[in-house]
């Protein structure tokens, strides 16, 4: 094993943060949907996978990464809108387990639809030309694309925060996640808000898929472990909390990449151990409210 130097640790730390941004985006999508609709989207990993495939597909079609970065999440969000309208909506008021089970079934269907469309082997993905190469960070060279991941996530999180905190529609969403009944009484079509939030959440899952595609193998099963990992992030950060999703996402990314450096065999396991520790000490997660676990 090569010697572990401070600069190697720093590089691995930034790698972890870059990985963590993908987790953070996934958890944000999951938390948005949960906070609003009280639905855990078990198809979240599948939406991530669909986003990755569409991203690679549109990149090949148009040759323009930025275009693919916009179109793929929109299409993924469109599938999400369809799923909410025709599959999830009939289940409101029938117990919290039913939407969960339904989205689990949906993930199976999405996986097989992608297999039928793009083949079981998956698609070859590569870093877009404009974002290739490495940047000197002072302690070593770091891939430009991973720095782009961090920047892109920062932009998305900032935009989302401005949308939720500073716009009228964001106000309705925040009010609706506090008390949907009151918002409905005030004359807001809350069903429509739920619909759009589900679309937004799945679009963000798609976006994280597009962003992650150049850094990992794009195949129909890629979303299966991602679902479990995004659950870890949500539990650690606190369900329904956006700051929690960001902080926990980055923490989980850093824990993963540090374990990958120091004890590679335990890398996959480390984040689950982190979750178990959080459950023991603070079951509601970093930013979750106590008693919100009901």
């Amino acid at each position: 094993m090569s010697e572990i130097t401070p600069s190697l640790l720093m590089l691995q730390l930034v790698t972890g943060i870059a990985l963590g941004t993908v987790y953070a985006l996934l958890a944000i999508g999951l938390s948005l949907i949960f906070g609003m609709l009280n639905v855990v989207n078990f198809a979240h990993g599948a939406f991530f996978m669909v986003g990755a495939f569409l991203g690679v597909y549109f990149l090949g079609l148009t040759g323009n990464f930025w275009l693919a970065l916009v179109i793929a999440p929109l299409v993924t969000g469109g599938i999400g809108l369809f799923a909410e309208r025709f599959l999830v909506r009939p289940l409101y008021g029938r117990g919290i387990d039913y939407p969960l089970l339904l989205t689990f079934g949906l993930s199976y269907v999405l996986i097989d639809v992608v297999r039928a469309t793009f083949g079981i082997e998956g698609l070859p993905s590569s870093t877009p030309a404009a974002l290739r190469g490495a940047v000197n960070l002072g302690f070593g060279h770091f891939p430009l694309y991973r720095l782009f991941l961090i920047a892109a996530t920062a932009v998305v999180v900032l935009a989302l925060w401005l949308f939720l905190e500073k716009t009228r529609y964001g106000l309705i969403i925040r009010a609706g996640s506090r008390d949907a009944e009151i918002v409905r009484v005030l004359g807001v079509d809350i069903t429509r808000v739920w619909w759009l939030v589900f679309g937004l959440g799945t679009a963000i899952a798609g976006l994280s898929g597009v962003l992650a595609a150049p850094t990992r193998a794009v195949n129909p099963e890629m979303g299966i472990p991602v679902l479990a990992e995004s659950f870890v992030v949500t539990v650690v950060g606190g369900m329904g909390s956006l700051p929690g999703a960001v902080v926990a996402g980055i923490l989980v990314g850093v824990v993963f990449s540090m374990t990958a450096l120091l004890a590679p065999a335990y890398a996959e396991m480390s984040i689950f151990v982190l979750m178990a520790l959080v459950l023991l000490v603070r079951p509601q997660g970093f930013f979750g409210k106590a008693g919100a676990l009901g």
Binding site: N38, D97, L100, R115, M239, M269, M275
Partner: protein, 325 residues
């Protein structure tokens, strides 16, 4: 005797009826291996149903207990040369322990969180066995499990004979079903159903909800572990996928398909599911998508499941007087 009386008699002696049916079951199936598979997964679904159907806790980590039962039975036989009877005990004890650890952590959360946490903890166990290649064979699974022949007063118990294998496994399933039935009919069984209906009220009535949840979780893990042990003997290998959360999802599907919270429903679900798999996979390679569609249709239109609907209809028409068949 009229049909109505027969139905009620069957419902009153539910364990006996189930076991009688399962005695004749291999002759209804196209081949014995499928019957054995249904028997094992039926038991797995019954164990899962204790937590999901009766206590109302949707676990997505029950593959862990199936897998731990399988692996520890296999490891005891392959690495330590234990007799298969002793190895079954090892497998069940290990899954009880796994159930205690996972349950202790998971019951700190409720509702949706419980599902997420059990899924994630199940993945820990998956990676643990995946990485311990020296003991578990890693990605290739554990191979080379051979059950010794027992000579019982001239009657040979040989697992190479599929019918013998079926009835040996039937015997263990019978024990487990009897135990499950006794637990459900006990005051403790009433407490877990009360938790499903209203957790706060149950706590207010003075029952220790956390302890009851943990206890039923551990019992359920043990039943699933027994199914896993038997599966290791049946397959003579342990595939690593048996620990994956998709396997837990299969238990959920079987329960839902048959009817959650019914005694025999999970068996019906396991039977229909595996029979369909057997037929559909010869017709199309998109079995996973077909399962997904079936599952969504069940959730949307048919949440009582096959057996659940039958029981419900019989009760509604007054043909079935037994309260909890």
């Amino acid at each position: 005797m009229s049909l109505e009386n027969l139905v009620n008699l069957g419902a009153r002696y539910r364990v006996a009826s189930v076991l009688l049916f399962l005695l004749a079951f291999p002759w209804l199936m196209p081949y014995e291996a499928l019957a054995v598979n249904i028997l094992i997964f039926g038991l797995f679904a019954v164990g899962f149903n204790l937590v999901f159907g009766y206590t109302g806790m949707l676990s997505f980590g029950h593959a862990s207990f199936l897998g731990v039962g399988s692996y520890l039975t296999g490891i005891a036989m392959v690495h330590f040369g234990l007799h298969w009877l002793a190895a079954i005990v090892v497998g069940v004890l290990a899954s009880l322990l796994a159930g205690l650890v996972v349950g202790y952590l998971a019951i700190r959360t409720r509702g949706i969180y419980f599902s997420m946490v059990t899924l994630a903890l199940g993945q820990v166990i998956y990676y643990l066995f995946y990485k311990a290649e020296r003991w578990t064979g890693g990605e290739n699974g554990l191979r080379g499990i051979k059950a010794e022949v027992i000579d019982l007063f001239g009657f040979r118990i040989d697992f190479l004979n599929p019918m013998t294998k079926y009835y040996v496994i039937w015997f263990f399933v019978a024990l487990a079903m009897w135990l499950v039935s006794r637990i459900l009919a006990s005051p403790f069984g009433a407490v877990i159903e009360a938790i499903r209906e209203n957790e706060k009220r149950t706590a207010a009535c003075g029952y220790d909800v956390a302890r009851a949840k943990l206890l039923i979780f551990v019992i359920s893990a043990g039943v699933c572990g027994l199914a896993g042990s038997l599966r290791a003997l049946h397959l003579s290998v342990v595939p690593v996928d048996s620990l994956h959360y998709l396997q837990s999802g299969q238990a959920v599907m079987m329960c839902l398909l048959g009817g959650m919270g019914t005694f025999f429903g999970p068996f019906v679900g396991a039977g229909v599911f595996l029979y369909l798999e057997d037929v559909v996979t010869t017709l199309t390679k998109y079995w996973m998508g077909a399962v997904g569609l079936l599952f969504m249709a069940l959730v949307l239109f048919f949440p009582r499941g096959i057996w659940g609907t039958l029981v419900h209809q019989l009760q509604r028409r007054g043909l079935l007087q037994v309260e909890r068949p």
